[in-house]
């Protein structure tokens, strides 16, 4: 039995899980900051 497909699958799965775990807070921060900035600008325009 060739071990290559199992090794490749293990490395690919690890990369996907770790990249997702690393990128999700970055993406969340980006959208949250954008939302806060938009809200602040809206409040500034009101006053």
């Amino acid at each position: 039995m060739s071990h290559t497909p199992f090794i490749l699958a293990a490395y690919a799965a690890t990369a996907v899980v770790l990249l997702w775990a690393a990128l999700s807070p970055v993406l969340q921060r980006r959208s949250f900051t954008k939302e806060l900035k938009a809200r602040k600008q809206h409040m500034d325009n009101k006053t």
Partner: protein, 249 residues
């Protein structure tokens, strides 16, 4: 004041923690990337195949660090939960709940890579053996902590409930660790212990580098998540408004 005590006092302040962790994160990612690059090179191109496992031993360079991290992070969560419950330190609550997704990610990797290693080596992807089952229970505990935290609207109440579950769930850690000794399992016993290692240096070094990389990954990811959570919780506070107006996000 003693500098160490002073450091802990400062860490309790969200604005200080936000600034300090912001400076630390790029260094942690850099060290993590360096260790991963060298570790992967040695693991994939330099270390020899095992005389019994063959080439599938290369999965161990992912599986072992992930399995160790899955237990270490839960242990940290139990300690942080205890500190959060006894001393009511908010940063500890934030660190606890920010640790859970990273711990769950490592547990998932340990289960997936273990399963992919098991098929060519044991002839099966899964076996309801004590080590595998207790590691699966650990994944459910991580999910449980995250779900319990999300079930509350008030973050401090949520953190107290999650802290309790983290402390109670820590009983699973010695079960995972000693499962290979307490029960007759398919999973092999430990090859690296505090007293030494039975692994040849050509395989031990890439393994240790990957273990080191996983620790820096946890540090960087944990701080990124903790900063975001603090930022979200304090969005109406002055320091967050200052950070946004100065564009120091």
């Amino acid at each position: 004041m003693n500098p160490i005590v002073l450091f802990f006092h400062k860490t309790g302040s969200p604005p200080w923690f936000y600034r300090f962790s912001g400076k630390l994160i790029p260094w942690l990612w850099t060290i993590c990337l360096l260790l991963t690059t060298v570790g992967l090179y040695l693991a994939l191109f330099v270390s020899p195949p095992d005389y019994q496992q063959g080439e599938s031993v290369r999965i161990m360079y992912l599986h072992v660090p992930a399995a160790w991290m899955s237990m270490m992070i839960y242990g940290f969560m139990a300690i942080m939960g205890f500190i959060a419950l006894v001393w009511r330190i908010r940063i500890m609550e934030v660190l606890l709940i920010s640790s859970a997704p990273v711990g769950a990610a490592f547990t998932l990797i340990a289960l997936i890579t273990g399963s992919l290693w098991g098929r060519p080596t044991w002839g099966t992807y899964w076996e309801w053996d004590a080590r595998l089952t207790s590691e699966l229970v650990l994944l459910f505990l991580y999910f449980g902590v995250m779900a319990l935290y999300s079930a509350f609207d008030e973050p401090r109440k949520a953190a107290r409930a999650a802290s309790l579950l983290a402390i109670v769930g820590a009983v699973n850690l010695p079960i995972i660790h000693y499962s290979v000794e307490w029960w007759n399992t398919l999973h092999q016993g430990p090859s690296v212990t505090a007293s030494g290692s039975s692994i040849h240096p050509s395989m031990l070094w890439p393994l240790l580098l990957m273990v080191g990389a996983s620790k820096f990954y946890y540090g960087a990811n944990l701080l990124s998540r903790a900063r975001l959570r603090l930022f979200q919780q304090d969005r109406r506070k002055r320091w967050v408004q200052d950070v946004i107006s100065k564009d120091q996000v």
